[in-house]
Structures are given as C-alpha cells and as structure tokens.
C-alpha cells in the first residue's frame, strides 16, 4: 500500500528540513523516497505542516499506580464520559474516558488527536511489570515502552552495601531489563523510597540509608555506570532527591555535578528547581539550574510543566507523596510500600492560578523551557498527569511560542508570584522547528529510536499533519491527519480508526551467573519465583511480542 502526502511543508529537524515543500511517501508503514509511481491514496495537504509523529518520553500511562489514581478520581471520570466519535468506524468499543487519568483506550485516542504516536511510561516497577504491559497492550494508536524503576530495590542496595563488583550490578540490571521487558532505567528518589520503609522521612544526596548506609549519590553513580557499560541508549532517567521541597535547587545542582560528565537525564526538573528566598521561603532557581544545564552537555532534562486545574499526582516516590498527602484535593490519597522493590503514592491535586506556590511552579517551568538553550536537551512534558494532563500540551506549546499570550496569562496569576519570576522579561519564543525538535526529533535521538522522529526513507510512517494556524494552541489541538505505521487513524482532529501499537524494549548482554543468586533471593525474600516474576515475549501486546532494540555494550 503506497500513500503519498502532497503539497505539505516538511518539518524534519533531524535532517535540517525546516518547512521544506516536498511530498512524503510511504509504503506499508515505512517512509520511502518520493517516486512517480501510482499511489493507492494521495492526500493533498495545501501547505499544512508535516512532521514525524510526536514522541513523549515521560508520561504516566500504565501500571498499578494509574489504576489507583483512577480509583480515586471517579468524579473526574464521570465528568469526562465516553466521547461521541461520529467518524469512528468501529462499533461501541467500551473505550472509557476521564481526563486526569484517562483509560488506556482514551489515552491512545487523545494522544493520537494531538499527533503523538509513541509514548513512554517512565516508572514501571519490576513487581508490577506484567500488569503495566497488560495495560499497555490495551492502548491503541500508540507505540509504548516503559522505564524500569531501580535503585530502591533491596537486591541492588544489598549488592552495593556488600561492595559487589560493577559487573555483578550490570548483570542484575541486564537481567531486570529483560525480565520486565523495559526500555530504560529510571531512578526515583535514589534509595529514598527504601529508606522510608525504615522510617526515614527524607534522604538527601549524601545522606546514608538508615539500614544499608548507602547514599543516593552511590546509587546514582553505580546505575549510571551500569547503563553506560551495558550500552542502554537512554541515559539514567532520574527523578532526584527532595522532590517538591523548597531548597532542593542545591540538591539538583549537586546531582548534576555528581554525574561527573556522564550522560544523565533529569526528569520533571521543574519540581526540583525550588529555592528558599523571599518571605514565603519559596522561590525560583530556574535561572541557576538552567545555567548549569547549559554548561553541562551531558545533561538532558524534561520540564514537568504545571498546568492549572484538577489533576492527580502519581509517583513511585512514596516518601515524597506521603509528605504531600496533606495537600490532597479532593482530600484522599493512597500510599503503598511495594515488594522490596519501590513504592507508590497517589495524591489528587488541583493547581490553582491564584495560589502563590502553584503560580510560581507554573512560572518556574516556563523559565526552564525558555532559559535552557539547546532544544535537543530539553523535552516537552507535564509529567502527565502530575503537573497536568497531556491534553494540555497545545496550550503549553502556545505559551512557549507566543510571548504576548504568555505574558497575558502571567498577568492573571497570583500577584506575589508574578513579582517572584523573571518570566515577563524573557523575550524568547520557540519556533515551530524547535517545537518539532522538543516533541519528535530530540526524544527519538535520546531514546536511540533510529527509525522514529524523522521523515527520511526507512523511518516508520508515524506522521502528523497540522494545519498552519497563528493560534498555536488551536493548531496543535487537532491534527489534520495522523498516520500510525502508515495507517490513517485521525482526520480533522478526530480518531477514525484504531491501529495496534508495539512496545519497545531493550536487550543487553549480561552474565547469566546472576540467575542463581536471583532464584535464591526471589524464593526466600520475595516469596515469588524468579521465573514467574519474569515476563515472556508472548505476554506483550496480546501475544505479538515486543520490538527489541539490542544494545551494544562495552563502553565505559
């Protein structure tokens, strides 16, 4: 099946194409060089913008904590029922709804309408991996993948405490990546979630875990080394210490320094950029942190922008979420210690524009977006749903691209917060090309997805077409056309078809001698057999299995 998109303007930053008028052609789900052959279908685009499908490298879309969030957010679910989709070709599909925590089906459909075709779940617990993969199998229209949370598990803390050689750590990480069918390694509050189980209420970068006496710095550097040596393309994806705590700016700066030049991704940086200046002892450190990010090319970040309104926060960071549970709105929350593995905390939250702290969080996020200079090292996220649902992305894009709009919004916020941000003085406006970098080209590059995020021959035909519109929020709210693997799934902003996605995983070489140790550990400590913890390929995507990226290790 050959499909041709004619008369579009191609935005492909990976190949330096900035609004180049050319046809885009694809055959059976892959982009090919343009031909004069007769196409099975042609779409006349009339100058619309053609980009690769969007890639979200950090959005909580699957796993046990999302179901706990759904359980708590029934009012949100009732307020957002199943949409009527007159153009949809399928029968009633039992697709669910919801805004803050949409159902699997609604997640796939709402993302597709925005032009996204690949999304990564950034916090999968090993013990919950089977559940997360079952859920991802039910997400249509998106390719997915998941980052495995490590660094709070008792197995690795025991290894580190015992002074195990790095090779053994690496073997464990390699085994876990394979066993849980994961794509990268995430660290959440390194060692802190574990420390909370021993009743520590905070754990700073150089503070020792009360039981293992291991510091977050050691956990971080050990795992940075592991993924580097195993050749995992995505660097350690770090949710650092002291999330949300005023004064965590110092921790964040120290964490960047701790990487010592090795690649490290700091996620939802906004929540880690708080100073303690001013009467309220809460201030923006975005400028300091952005300067440090600019000066350290080994560092990449995503923002975790706060968007006003009702949402729910869901994190493996039970230590932090327990601290925040008093702020819950509506007033209910769930916390859980999980399986000698990690934990989770789910706290509904409403960001209010008249609230000083919330308004300043909003400004801090935007400051980071505008002060970090290299668009290839910063990614557009709201840490869905923690800073706000992903459906707010078009609004966020407009805030980045339209200074007048941004300043008009700022003027409506809490007055004290306005006085505490330098946002009004920042003149930068993102270009369309930069948005394409943040949302497609750069995520593909940092994830090591060579056939995604661009429109050159050989790329997967995941394509988003947006009608040009000076109102960037309107432009990005409803894609004109979206193709998933070459199949047309969205027309004029509405889902018209469902395409099955795949799940990306990485595989590394590792020393299988670790397996007998793991068998003993699982038998005695966990109370579950290692072989039952492990997922087979056939358990992914309804038996279709994963899309495997084989890592080439050996680097150090």
């Amino acid at each position: 099946m050959r499909i041709r998109l004619k008369g579009g303007r191609v935005l492909d930053p990976a190949h330096g194409e900035n609004a180049v008028a050319r046809d885009v052609e694809f055959v059976d789900g892959r982009i090919v060089a343009a031909t004069r052959e007769k196409a099975d279908a042609e779409h006349e685009l009339g100058g619309a913008v053609v980009m690769a499908g969007g890639i979200d490298l950090h959005s909580h879309i699957a796993g046990g904590k999302m179901n706990l969030a759904r359980l708590l957010m029934q009012e949100d679910r009732r307020a957002h029922p199943e949409p009527a989709l007159p153009g949809f070709s399928g029968a009633a599909c039992g697709c669910g709804g919801g805004r803050a925590v949409p159902t699997a089906h609604a997640t796939g459909c709402r993302y597709a309408e925005l032009g996204y075709t690949t999304v990564f779940e950034p916090a999968m617990l090993g013990s919950n991996a089977r559940s997360a993969h079952l859920e991802m199998a039910d997400i249509p229209n998106l390719d997915t993948g998941a980052y495995l949370v490590l660094g709070n598990d008792d197995f690795i803390l025991r290894l580190i405490k015992a002074g195990a050689p790095q090779e053994e750590i690496n073997a464990y990480v390699g085994w876990m990546l394979k066993a849980t069918q994961a794509f990268a390694i995430k660290i959440v509050n390194p060692g802190g979630i574990n420390a909370f189980k021993f009743n520590a209420r905070k754990l700073d970068l150089d503070e020792a875990n009360p039981h293992y006496e291991v510091t977050p710095r050691t956990v971080l550097t050990t795992l940075i080394r592991a993924v580097t040596e195993l050749g995992v393309p995505h660097p350690i994806h770090l949710h650092g210490c002291n999330l949300g705590v005023p004064g965590n700016d110092e921790t964040t700066l120290a964490t960047i320094a701790a990487a010592e030049g090795r690649r490290l991704h700091l996620t939802h940086l906004q929540f880690h950029s708080y100073g303690t200046e001013g009467d309220r002892r809460f201030s923006s450190s975005a400028a300091r942190i952005a300067a440090m990010v600019n000066a350290n090319p080994n560092i990449s970040v995503d923002v975790g922008q706060v968007m006003f309104g009702q949402t729910v926060t869901a994190s493996a960071d039970y230590m932090s979420q327990y601290r925040n549970r008093g702020l819950a709105s509506p007033k209910k929350s769930i916390g859980m210690d999980i399986e000698l593995d990690a934990g989770c905390g789910v706290v509904p939250f409403e960001y209010r524009d008249r609230n000083f702290v919330n308004a300043l969080q909003w400004a801090i996020g935007l400051e980071l977006f505008l002060l970090v200079e290299d668009p290839w090292r910063i990614f557009l996220t709201t840490d869905h749903p923690n800073g706000g649902p992903f459906t707010t992305y078009p609004h966020l894009i407009r805030l980045l691209m339209d200074r007048d709009f941004r300043n008009a919004q700022l003027a409506t916020l809490n007055k004290t917060a306005q006085a505490h941000t330098l946002l009004a003085q920042i003149t930068r406006e993102y270009s369309l090309e930069e948005i394409a970098i943040l949302t497609r080209a750069a995520p593909a590059r940092i994830l090591g997805l060579k056939d995604k995020g661009h429109l050159a021959p050989g790329a997967v035909a995941d394509i988003a077409v947006h009608e040009e519109n000076a109102d960037r929020e309107a432009m990005f709210s409803r894609a004109k056309l979206v193709f998933k693997n070459g199949r047309l799934i969205v027309r004029d902003g509405e889902v018209i078809d469902l395409a099955p996605g795949t799940t990306h995983v990485v595989r590394t070489d590792f020393d299988t001698a670790i397996e007998s140790k793991l068998d003993t550990w699982f038998d005695r400590a966990v109370g579950l057999k290692a072989k039952h913890f492990r997922l087979s390929d056939g358990e992914l995507r309804g038996g279709r299995g994963p899309t495997v990226l084989n890592c080439v290790g050996g680097a150090s």
Binding site: L71, E75, P330, K331, K332
Partner: protein
C-alpha cells in the same frame, strides 16, 4: 420547553434520568426533547420512546406516574422544580445543588446522596443511605433539606456533613453512621445501631434510640437551643414544638467523637 412527561408503560429495565432538569430542557423544541438519549438497561433509548411529552409550566418538570426503576430523578438539579407523582428509583436528587424535588410515592436507595442544596420532599418511604455519600465519594450530603414523610432505610445520613434530614416515620438500622455534621431528625423510631462513628452533628429523637456503643449520657437539660432551632428551621418546628427539655447523649466516644443525640422531652411549652 417546560414539559410534562408521562411514562407510557412500566419500565422493563432501569432508566437513568440524571441531568434531565428544567434548565437542561429550557429552550428545547419538543422534537429535541423526544430525542434526548437516556441510558436504559444495557442500551440507550430516546426519551420519546418511553414517555409521552406535552408542554407544562415554565421552570417545572412534571413526571406523571412513576416507577421504581426510574433512577437519577432530579440528580444534578440546581434550580427550578421537579414533581413526580409516583415512585422513583435510586439516586433521586443526587448531587442536587438547588431547586425543589417533590416525590409523591416512594424513593429507592441513596435519595439525596451528596446533596449540597435545595429541598427534597417525599411522601412515601426512602430506601437505604438517604443523604449519604454517593458511590466512591468521601462525604455525604452537605446542605439542603430532605423531608421524608414515610420511613427511611438503613444508614440514613451516613457520612452526612451538613443540611437537615427529617424523617417523619422510622429510621432504619445504623442511621448517622460516621456522621460528620448536620442534623438528622426522626419523628418515629430509630432501628438499632444509630450514631456509630459520629464525629459531630445532631440526631433529634422522640425516644432514646438504641445507639451504638460509645455514647455518654450527659443528662437532661433545658435547651434554649431547641427553641431557637424550632424558630429558625420551620421544618423542625412540628417535631420540636412541644419540647422544652432534652436528654443529651454525646458520642461516638470510642472515636473521640462529639456528636450529640437530643431526646426530646415534652413539657409545658414556653411561648415561642
């Protein structure tokens, strides 16, 4: 349009009328009203299939006849009036914020669940959990008035946190369980287990209820407050009218609660 709806036949499956309020019908042509989709059993049907429709008084929705499977009557009502001549099913007046809902027959479970304002009057009996928290919600009714002329089922006022529930008949088992605030007054008798887990709030009774463990008797008092309540809350005047004194019990002390149970004692009424 303002409409009178007459059920054409007894319902074979549950029908959910949530959101069908005078405000939602205002400005709609008869054909539009007929086409409103309503969840019915496992399907969705057009309103016109089940009801005969004619124009009525502005700001008022009238349901001629009723049915115990007619759920969600008046749910979401914020203004105006809904009148039902017969029975209704579950969730009548759920989440209602204002306006008036009058039911001539009986109501099913969770009448007035999550009510925040407005007034509900029902001539017959109410099912379980009148004025309680809707499914999954943290708190029960927070404001408004619910007048039940018949009896109420179990756990009336469960997690109630405001407003007034007046039951002229009897209250079922475990009334006011985990009550947070507000008033539950019962003209008839309380079934056993009332008041368990009460934090605050007031139960008004004519005879000492069979309370859950955890209430302390503070004796009989001449409560000026009673007369004030009777004057301020006309709905309670009838119940309180003759009472000048009340026995006061406080609980649930097993949980550090400070709810009060006022058992009215009749005497020479002082001039109101």
């Amino acid at each position: 349009m303002s409409v009178v709806l007459r059920l054409k036949a007894p319902l074979a499956a549950r029908l959910d009328l949530e959101g069908l309020t005078p405000a939602a019908l205002a400005g709609k042509a008869p054909a539009e009203v007929e086409a409103i989709a309503l969840p019915h059993g496992g399907r969705s049907v057009a309103l016109g299939e089940l009801f005969a429709i004619r124009a009525g008084t502005e700001g008022r929705l009238v349901l001629e006849g009723g049915d115990a499977r007619l759920d969600g009557v008046g749910a979401g009502l914020a203004a105006g009036e809904i009148l039902v001549e017969g029975d209704v099913g579950a969730h009548a007046g759920r989440g209602m914020a204002g306006g008036v809902l009058r039911i001539g027959g009986h109501a099913g479970d969770e009448l007035a669940a999550g009510l925040t304002g407005g007034r509900i009057e029902i001539d017959g009996n109410a099912g379980a959990r009148a004025g309680a928290a809707p499914s999954g919600a943290r708190r029960g009714m927070a404001g408004g008035v619910v007048l039940i002329r018949g009896h109420a089922g179990e756990r009336a006022g469960e997690r109630q946190r405001g407003g007034l529930i007046l039951i002229e008949g009897d209250a079922g088992a475990e009334a006011a369980t985990d009550m947070i605030a507000g008033t539950l007054a019962v003209g008839g008798r309380f079934a056993p287990g009332a008041g368990r887990g009460m934090k605050r709030g007031t139960l008004i009774a004519r005879a000492t209820p069979d309370l859950a463990e955890g209430f302390a008797d503070t004796g009989t008092h001449d409560l000026v407050a009673l007369r004030l309540i009777a004057r301020r809350v006309p709905d309670l005047a009838g119940l309180i009218a003759a009472a000048v004194r009340a026995r006061r019990l406080v609980g649930d002390r097993l949980q550090g609660g400070l709810g009060e149970v006022l058992v009215l004692e009749e005497g020479a009424a002082s001039p109101a």
